[in-house]
Symmetry: C2
Subunit: 447 residues, 2 copies
Amino acid sequence: MGGAKGSYGQLLLLFSLFLSRRPQLTISWSESAAAEAEAIAAIPCSGHGRAYLDGILVDGVPTCECNTCYAGADCSQLLPDCPADADSGDPLFLEPYWQQHAASSAVVFSGWHRMSYRTTGDYFISVELEKHIRLLHEAVGNAVTDGRFIVFGSGSTQLLNALVYALSPENASTPASVVATAPYYALYKLQTDLFDRREYEWKGVTSKWVNASVASMGNFIEFVTSPNNPDGRLLQSVLGGSSVIYDHAYYWPHFTAIPAPADEDVMIFTASKVTGHASSRFGWAVIKDEKVYQKATEYMQLNTMGVSRDTQLRVLKLVKVMLAEMRGEGGIFEFGHKTTRERWSKLSKVISSSNRFSLQQLSPLYCTYFKKIIDPSPAYAWLKCEMEGDVDCSAVLREAGIISRAGAVFEASSRYARLSLIKTQDDVDLLLQRMEALVSKEDVASF
Amino acid sequence: MGGAKGSYGQLLLLFSLFLSRRPQLTISWSESAAAEAEAIAAIPCSGHGRAYLDGILVDGVPTCECNTCYAGADCSQLLPDCPADADSGDPLFLEPYWQQHAASSAVVFSGWHRMSYRTTGDYFISVELEKHIRLLHEAVGNAVTDGRFIVFGSGSTQLLNALVYALSPENASTPASVVATAPYYALYKLQTDLFDRREYEWKGVTSKWVNASVASMGNFIEFVTSPNNPDGRLLQSVLGGSSVIYDHAYYWPHFTAIPAPADEDVMIFTASKVTGHASSRFGWAVIKDEKVYQKATEYMQLNTMGVSRDTQLRVLKLVKVMLAEMRGEGGIFEFGHKTTRERWSKLSKVISSSNRFSLQQLSPLYCTYFKKIIDPSPAYAWLKCEMEGDVDCSAVLREAGIISRAGAVFEASSRYARLSLIKTQDDVDLLLQRMEALVSKEDVASF
Ligand SMILES: Cc1ncc(COP(=O)(O)O)c(C=O)c1O
Ligand SMILES: Cc1ncc(COP(=O)(O)O)c(C=O)c1O
């Protein structure tokens, strides 16, 4: 303030402006943490990356973590010949949403925040978070939770096996058969094989068992993914038995029209695909039967003693923001659906002029959340290579500088490949660019 | 500022004081989160409780969560006839430490902080956190980590089973036998039974197998807890086979002298017992063999896809504080050891005048961390009921208003009971009070 030459009045105005910007706010012990977080968030990464508090330090400062194909200290350098990476289901498409809601979505942890094993609810579950998850389903209209139990997991990944355990018969002579309809999410098989127990074992694709005798049905545990990963179809149980795990990871308006609230006995959801925080490892199961709930809870206790309470606090804050902004200008589903719909529509347009490739058929559907018919907005494109010689679609794409997930991973034909539409805009831009180039080569070739 | 009548100079002073308190700090989007956290931390709970950000709301405000036996809106009410609860291993004894280090240990999460499945390191592990954990072991001198692999888990709980899996033979005709020395931490059995697989099964106490044929030894997986829960003894492998899991949850100067850095092939540690953040669910394994490391990593990926990155950020901050304050006035081990040593010494004094009860024998030992001989400071008292009629020690204590953990839980005689010395000061005060009363009744009875 050395050079301050202003009048008393000016200074008074400045001071009261200063104070009025922070009504009733007193900040002491959290100040340096807040300043640190803001300083690091402000590190410039050219819009193609971001620095995080726990990033790798160079000269004591976290470095920019660049989007794929970008490099340099400030991520400003686009790497030539870098393949478009459309492999993973990393939900970065929602990152800009949270950047736009910075003030309402931040959380401050004190060093002594909730250190105990115990939390507010039973079985290591936050009462407030459980309540807000029920409110979220009600507000979105995508699942019935009244009179149901809720179990939290470290990602829905943990719950998938917890439910397989919970649905397994206790003293059966033969293990239960765990099945899913192809193309299916590969983790079901990998996880079931790893945890392969006396009580259950992986038995491949559901369709193989459709004509099995009715008597043996009780011993089947069927995974149903709806909307399906990879192809976005809304699926139902094929076997119609009593032990069905509905994986509703993508049953949110970001990715599909919501025809009606889901109402199955066992339903699994995940923060990864609704808030976009895959990093937090947070999922939940909505369960009708008390005994199944008890067994899933027991699994959670002995596997990890519940889910990180740090994560539960953070997810609570995120869900509160989603609820506060619901259906408004700043609504996350408005944002998410618009993003995925545009991405799908652009990719569809490119593929529509191709004879070599085709996409899964998805139709506009009435959505009870948006209260109108909406265009498709799937999380993934399920691309098929139509030409006789293109037996390995993923290899064809790789050749053209596109990393996809091969059909075989989903126990489907290798003529298929999955392209992720939920990663960063940079990833999708590069993907569209490469797909366009690939398709335009066709035109040339066919002349 | 309505009534401000001061001169320009006074105001200028005030303003610059105001600014100088916050040098270089700019706070914008994190301000309301910081103010919220501080407002809630400031809710008065009489020193017998605390309010948390995610506490249960009453009239929109989180309520005080009171220590056991305290009640009322501000926890000021001591409940009469409330039993002293010395059951769990809730590490609340470190809560005051973090309250004293409020400014350095707080962390601010932005809404968009690290949303991706990926982190800085492989297998969902933060490079900075791994580095700081190695630094912590080096600074404390309690474990060799050079050239070892590190795997993170959601609590050491998750790692216990991950390591049983990793150490199991792959295609053996008979499952590996999982054993531990009694008295042992009950979770080993409960968890192994729940995950009971074709590859391994629980086989009870180690001592039963000491004389088994050497040939069968390869198929044993032995848990060794050192210091042991419940009795605090430093233990070694009994079978001496190659598949030993050293659970070093309590191998920190809080709880034991550190004679030398632990150097076993498989060692497990947990934040729960070193920082005291049981809630965060964070543990780590230090592993020598690459193949065992790979299998444990595979387990972590398919079970939960790694540990919450939120928790990894928070634990990083806590470890940084521990390192910065190491061996100084504000050192966590100085604080922790002093607390547990005093608690043990007070309880020992009470029990020393009793004929009815005895405690485990623990001797002063040279500690390489403190560089001197230190008195015992165990996490738990392992109480024995000596009188012929007192067959069920836990019931005897219960009668006297003390909740303990029964010896049978540890596969030990019911003449034993475990008393926790790591909970809140309120819990320990009440425990000491009740034990004193119980012991003084002896004197009366013997007259
Ligand atoms: C169908 C499906 N279920 C479950 C998951 C696992 O998600 P998380 O463990 O992050 O909740 C995924 C992730 O891509 C998925 O696609
Ligand atoms: C010996 C021992 N190992 C492991 C654990 C589990 O701790 P956590 O899962 O919180 O890391 C405990 C908890 O009390 C314990 O006493």
